[in-house]
């Protein structure tokens, strides 16, 4: 298993997956920096939580596509080289499924860590009020990673099962759309689709007063039930995906 994982990283070595993830994160950063650059005193006061809010919004828009790209990059090599038949003779197909997922998960976790690092750096440079709320960052890391990995898993299943990568990428795009739009919809709707969980697990609310044009951010209670539901979906997806992949003739 460890060896299989090492091989997986070896395969992605020159495929510059990390560069892809970084490029997408860089686009997010530009956006964030642009919005940070227009902060007034009031915004600086709530800088930490407003930036967590902003990044969650950006994540629900971009992460589904990033997951789709990463999963497709990792899985498409096997289709292009028609190597799955060969691989199956030396590694159990369940293991191939697992190591591919772990490999993708590594990049996705790195991406979130990198986001947090950026918030920290810009926060201290811009002088956000108060100490950095590390507890909130912990929750952000946990929830964003949980949703990212669930979406990544879905994408991996699609990218492996359909040789035509168009299917996976189209689903990824649709997911972005759902993720973004579900933020405008009630929670009950968000829970229907896996991409809506960026919104479900968001623990910061925003009030925008139309008359005064003042934005207020506040903490909302964490939806642990939603988190459990996400985990259940993850498990179901994992089991179904792995079984179908293992029983497939390549």
């Amino acid at each position: 298993m460890i060896k299989a994982l090492a091989i997986e990283f070896y395969k992605t070595h020159r495929r510059k997956i990390f560069l892809v993830v970084m490029a997408m994160i860089a686009a997010q950063l530009m956006w964030a920096l642009w919005s940070f650059s227009r902060m007034d005193v009031r915004d600086l006061e709530q800088g930490w939580i407003s930036s967590l809010f902003q990044f969650t919004l950006l994540n629900s828009l971009m992460m589904p596509v990033i997951c789709a790209v990463v999963a497709s990059r990792i899985c498409d090599v096997e289709h292009k080289g028609q190597t799955l038949k060969l691989l199956n003779t030396i590694i159990p197909s369940g293991h191939i499924f697992d190591v591919k997922f772990l490999c993708g998960a590594f990049y996705m976790i790195l991406a979130v860590l990198f986001q947090i690092l950026t918030i920290l750096i810009t926060g201290y440079l811009k002088g956000f009020n108060g100490e950095a709320p590390f507890e909130l960052f912990g929750y952000y890391l946990l929830f964003t990673t949980a949703v990212n990995l669930s979406v990544l898993l879905l994408q991996q299943v699609l990218s492996l099962l359909f040789t035509n990568q168009m299917v996976a990428l189209t689903v990824g795009l649709t997911g972005s759309f759902f993720g973004l739009f579900s933020l405008f919809f009630p929670q009950s709707f968000q829970k229907f689709v896996i991409w809506g969980y960026y919104g479900v697990l968001m623990f910061i609310g925003m009030d925008w007063d139309r008359a005064t044009r003042i934005t207020n951010y506040y903490l909302t209670p964490i939806d642990w039930a939603g988190f459990v539901m996400l985990m259940v979906q993850f498990l179901v997806l994992y089991i179904i995906g792995r079984v179908i992949f293992s029983h497939r003739e390549w």
Partner: protein, 244 residues
Amino acid sequence: MFIRTIRAERMKLRRSPVWLAFFALPILPAVMGTFNYQMNIEILQDKWYSLWTQHTLFSCYFFIPAVIGVYCSYLWRLEHTHYNWNAAMSAPVRVGYIYLAKLIMVSTMVILTQVWTGFLFILSGKLIGLDNPIPPELFSWLFYGALGGIVISALQLFISLVIRSFAIPVGMALVGGIAGLAALAKGYGIWFPYSLISLGMHGNGPADEMQYSSGQLIISCLLFTGFFILLAIIWLGKRDVKTV
């Protein structure tokens, strides 16, 4: 010969489900945009015009570029896989024709998507009972939107030609769309290929005066498209193909 190249492209796509994406994806913004419009009806008071912003706001920036990206990636993937480049390059066809035939296929799809978007817009407006007349500008929004879409198609076809991966060009299209939003906000929309579609479709507010004249927009679209076609033809002519 060119006609036959186009016909070959059509044959390659005949049984593929690509049209499904173009058919399904505009439905999402239409349904969700209409829903959002209904929820915020007290703020959005310009009826058809408000509905249009809700329909196009996100799709212009993020989704149309990426969907075009998916389509272009798919078209080149047919050549990038299975040693097909060898066959494509040894056929007695100018290399430019291969690119142009693909561009025509994508452009047709973009135009059909615009027609479909327009139809969905009218349909959802009627369904929620907007009683004033349909804005006469609708046709021009769709027309300029199609032009902007063709620019993105030319660019994405070039990117997918150079980068042999399926997914990366799609990611670039998404980032391009977001950068397009920034370029538009800064007022450089006309200089940036990914912004032209939202400029053309008046995504951020159809009632606003156009930032640029339609002549400027058309010239920009033509120049960009021509430039990317040229780049692609030079690339195809100079670079040796890699198979597998």
